[in-house]
C-alpha cells in the first residue's frame, strides 16, 4: 500500500497544474484513473482510504463542496470491485470504456449530491468532456503506472546503487 501513497502528491501536483496552467480545459480525471487502477489491482482497506483522500483533494481544488468527490470515488472504488467479479480490465478498449463509464458515474453521483445541496451544474458540459479525455488517456496512464511499479527497485537494490 505504501507505494500508492505517492498518488497523493502526484494528484496535488496534477490538480495544481490543471488549475493554474490549463484552467477550464477538460483534462483527464487523474483521481478517478488512480482509484480505477487501485481497485483493479487490490481490494484493500488502504484503497478505500486513498480513494477518500484523493476525492478530498479533488474537492479542495475544484472548489466544490468538500466530500462530494470523496463520496463519489469511494462508490467508484466499490463499483469497480463489483465489476471485477464479472469482467477483467486488461485490454485498452475495455479500460477506456470503463474509465468513460466510471467518469460519468462519478459525475452523476456528484451532480446528485450537488443538486441536493442547492448547487446546479451542467452535467453535459462538465462531466462528458472530462469522461472523453479520461477514456482516451486512462489506458496509457494505467500502463505507465504499471511500468513504474515494475521498475521499482527493491530496498536492498537501491541501497546498493547508493
Amino acid at each position: 500500500m505504501k507505494e500508492f501513497i505517492l498518488f497523493i502528491p502526484l494528484t496535488i501536483i496534477y490538480w495544481s497544474f490543471k488549475s493554474t496552467v490549463l484552467p477550464g480545459f477538460p483534462l483527464p480525471d487523474l483521481s478517478l484513473v488512480l482509484v480505477f487502477y487501485l481497485a483493479t489491482k487490490r481490494n484493500t482497506l488502504g484503497g478505500v482510504i486513498l480513494a477518500f483522500v484523493l476525492g478530498f483533494i479533488d474537492d479542495s481544488f475544484s472548489s466544490a463542496l468538500l466530500g462530494t468527490s470523496s463520496f463519489a470515488l469511494i462508490l467508484v472504488y466499490l463499483l469497480v470491485q463489483v465489476l471485477m467479479q464479472k469482467m477483467h480490465f486488461t485490454r485498452a478498449p475495455i479500460i477506456a470504456m470503463g474509465a468513460f463509464a466510471l467518469t460519468l458515474f462519478k459525475g452523476s453521483v456528484m451532480w446528485v449530491l450537488l443538486y441536493y445541496s442547492g448547487i446546479s451544474i451542467s452535467y453535459f458540459y462538465v462531466f462528458v468532456p472530462t469522461a472523453v479525455t479520461t477514456a482516451l488517456f486512462t489506458p496509457a496512464l494505467t500502463s505507465l503506472i504499471e511500468v513504474m511499479q515494475r521498475v521499482k527497485l527493491p530496498r536492498s537494490g537501491r541501497e546498493n546503487i547508493r
Partner: protein, 298 residues
C-alpha cells in the same frame, strides 16, 4: 465479532468514509468552521505549488509571446519600415507642398496689392563673394529675356524689396541684392518723409546722407522714394535698427534691417513694368517738383 469486522473491513470502512463525506457535505453547505480549517490547510499546502506552476506558465507564455510568436516579426518589421519610409517621404513632400502653397499665397497676395505687372520667378541661387567692399550678394532667378525680363527691373519678395536685375540671359537673370555693397536705392523714411540713399554693406543696409538734424528713430520704416526710375514709390525696404551720430558730425549713421527675409528665399517677384496709373502719378510728382524748384528759383 472481530473476525466479522475484519472480513468486511473494506465495506465497513467504505460506509464510514461515505458517511464522513456526507457529513462534510452537510457541514460545507452550512459553512461550518471545521471544514473551512481543513480546506484552508490544504490551500496553504498547495499555494506554493500553484505559485510555482503560475510562474512557469507565465514564463512559458512570455517566451511564447515574445519569441515563438514573433518569428515572422522580421518580415512584418521590414514591411512596416518600408511603409514608414514611404509615408515619411510622402509626409515630407506634403510639407514641402504646404510650404510652397503658403509662400505662393503670400506672393499672390503681394502681387495683388502691387500696382505694377509682376512675374514670379524661382530663386535658383544666392551667390556671395567676399570683395573689398564686403560681401557681394547676387541672386539668380529662373526667368530671363524669354519672359520679358529686362535689366534694372526691381526684384521683390512679399517682405519687401530684394534688389534689381543686373544681368539678363535668355532663361535666367541675375539680380543685385539690396544688401550688396554695390546697391544704391533712393529711399525715404515713411514717418518723417526724410530722403536718403540705402546702400548695402553685405549683411544689412546703411542709410546714408540723412542729416544729423533729422528725426530718425529705431523702428522707422524705410520705403522706396521712386526717384531713380527703377523702383516704384512706396515699396518697403526695411526698418531702422540703429541710429548714431556720424563721424563727420553732419550725417547720421543709420543701419537698416531689410524687411525681406533674405535667408529663406525660394521665390521672388520681378516688377516688369510700372502701371500707367503709377507712371502718371510719378510723372505728376516730378512735374510738381520741377515747378516747385522753378518757383523757388524765381
Amino acid at each position: 465479532m472481530r473476525e466479522l469486522i475484519f472480513r468486511y473491513r473494506v465495506i465497513l470502512c467504505s460506509v464510514l468514509l461515505c458517511l464522513l463525506s456526507l457529513h462534510l457535505i452537510s457541514k460545507g453547505r452550512s459553512g461550518s468552521g471545521g471544514v473551512l480549517i481543513v480546506s484552508r490547510a490544504i490551500t496553504s499546502v498547495v499555494n506554493p505549488i500553484n505559485y510555482s506552476f503560475s510562474t512557469i506558465k507565465n514564463s512559458l507564455t512570455s517566451i511564447l509571446d515574445n519569441y515563438v510568436l514573433l518569428l515572422n516579426i522580421k518580415e512584418t518589421n521590414q514591411a512596416l519600415l518600408l511603409r514608414v519610409d514611404k509615408l515619411s517621404k510622402e509626409n515630407n513632400r506634403l510639407k514641402e507642398e504646404e510650404a510652397l502653397h503658403s509662400r505662393l499665397k503670400k506672393l499672390i497676395s503681394f502681387k495683388e496689392n502691387t500696382p505694377t505687372k509682376t512675374i514670379t520667378a524661382s530663386v535658383l541661387s544666392i551667390s556671395s563673394l567676399q570683395g573689398s567692399g564686403g560681401w557681394t550678394r547676387v541672386i539668380t532667378l529662373s526667368k530671363g529675356k524669354a519672359d520679358t525680363i529686362e535689366k534694372n527691373m526691381p526684384v521683390m519678395s512679399p517682405g519687401g524689396v530684394l534688389g534689381r536685375i543686373t544681368d539678363v540671359s535668355t532663361h535666367n537673370s541675375k539680380g543685385l541684392m539690396l544688401i550688396d555693397p554695390r546697391s544704391n536705392i533712393d529711399v525715404i523714411i515713411q514717418r518723417t518723409r526724410v530722403r536718403g540713399i540705402a546702400e548695402g554693406n553685405g549683411t544689412d543696409i546703411t542709410l546714408k546722407y540723412v542729416r544729423d538734424l533729422e528725426d530718425v528713430r529705431i523702428g522707422d520704416v524705410i520705403v522706396t522714394a521712386g526717384l531713380s526710375g527703377v523702383f516704384p514709390k512706396g515699396l518697403k525696404v526695411g526698418e531702422v535698427t540703429q541710429v548714431q551720430k556720424g563721424w563727420d558730425n553732419f550725417f547720421k549713421s543709420i543701419v537698416v534691417r531689410p524687411s525681406a527675409d533674405l535667408e529663406r528665399l525660394e521665390e521672388a517677384l520681378i516688377l516688369t513694368g510700372i502701371s500707367s496709373e503709377v507712371a502718371e502719378q510719378e510723372n505728376a510728382e516730378k512735374i510738381q517738383k520741377n515747378l516747385t524748384k522753378k518757383d523757388l528759383g524765381n
